[in-house]
């Protein structure tokens, strides 16, 4: 199973949750499979998906799902410590860990070698960390979104990409329609 299949598989378990999605192909895949005004697509700033998701979860009440990647977490490694020490029970962080920088040509990441992101998350103090395979992602995400307990899911899958469209929606439109959705839920 590759990342785009994992992303597609979790769409049925996302009901009205707010979604913050990692830069590059992950956002493009989500956009292609299920464009929603409640999706915040990152068009720039590698690494900040989990931080945006946490900041959002801490400042309003609706459930938040951040769909991040292993490369992005490695870019902003301090984020797992911040998340652990500032838990938000409406926050689910899904790290789709395909062991590669998919958007830039599938260069290997250290998460696909010796580094275990689930162990790092636990060592940082995250209380509820789950490691699963791509096939189990939908079930685990569904449980986490309804669990009312901050959950970090590290979903291991194969590297590989599919052709996707560019996101041409203007960033201010993405932001504006997203904030309208936030307001409607609070």
């Amino acid at each position: 199973m590759i990342r785009s299949e994992v992303t597609k598989s979790i769409i049925p378990v996302i009901t009205d949750e707010l979604v913050v999605c990692n830069i590059g192909l992950p956002s493009q895949e989500l956009f292609m499979h299920d464009d929603q005004p409640s999706n915040f697509y990152m068009l720039g700033t590698m690494g900040l998906c989990s931080s945006i998701g946490l900041g959002l979860a801490l400042n309003q009440n609706a459930p938040v799902l951040a769909i991040d990647g292993d490369g992005s977490i490695l870019t902003n490694f301090g984020t797992l410590a911040t998340i652990a020490n500032n838990p938000a029970d409406n926050f689910t962080l899904l790290i789709i860990d395909n062991g590669s920088y998919g958007s830039t040509g599938d260069q290997p990441t250290y998460a696909g070698k010796k580094t275990s992101l689930s162990k790092v998350a636990k060592a940082c103090g995250c209380a509820n960390v789950i490691e699963c395979q791509g096939e189990e992602a939908a079930e685990e995400v569904g449980k986490a979104l309804k669990g009312n307990q901050m959950t970090i899911i590290v979903c291991k899958c194969e590297s590989g990409n599919v052709p996707v469209p560019n996101i041409l929606t203007h960033p201010v439109s993405i932001r504006d329609r997203f904030m309208t959705e936030v307001e409607a839920r609070n």
Binding site: V20, F40, M42, L43, G44, T45, G47, L48, C49, S50, S51, I52, G53, L54, G55, L56, A57, L58, N59, Q60, N76, G78, T79, A81, T82, N86, P171, V172, I174, R175, F178, M179, V182, E183, N186
Partner: protein
Amino acid sequence: MDINERIVDDFIRNEIGFVTTVPCKQLSGVIDAVEKHDQIHHVPCNHEAEGMGLCAGAFLGGTRPCIIMQNTALGVTVNSLAALIQYYQMPLPMLISYRGEVGEKVACQVEMAMHTKPILQQMNIPSYHLHKADDIEELSAILNHTFMASKPTAILADASFWSAT
């Protein structure tokens, strides 16, 4: 009134409810004041770019954010400012200790001080320099202006300001 409490009062007056910080010796008092205030959610972060992500999330969540940081970090936040805060037109007041100005005791700090204003100017980020104690009178209006304009702004507070207050 203590300058740090005055700064936090101005945050409250401008409805800032979320503050992330990276420490600097000059900022220790204001960071303490932020931490103690019960109307401000304070989340210390590990890196200023991470802090900008947290602030972006807070803003999306309907809370006015602020980041408190040192000017030496400006170089590592250029992309976050350009491709996140500016690209999505988000407001973000940055209260920045302006290290490396007259009164500085650490020579290396002077290096980034020389780049601070040019970087901000290059990025079209409105910048304000707090130098004398009375300059604090401008802070509330600067914060108000930041949220009106929905842009990042830099409030540079130098050694003279901190020692005079």
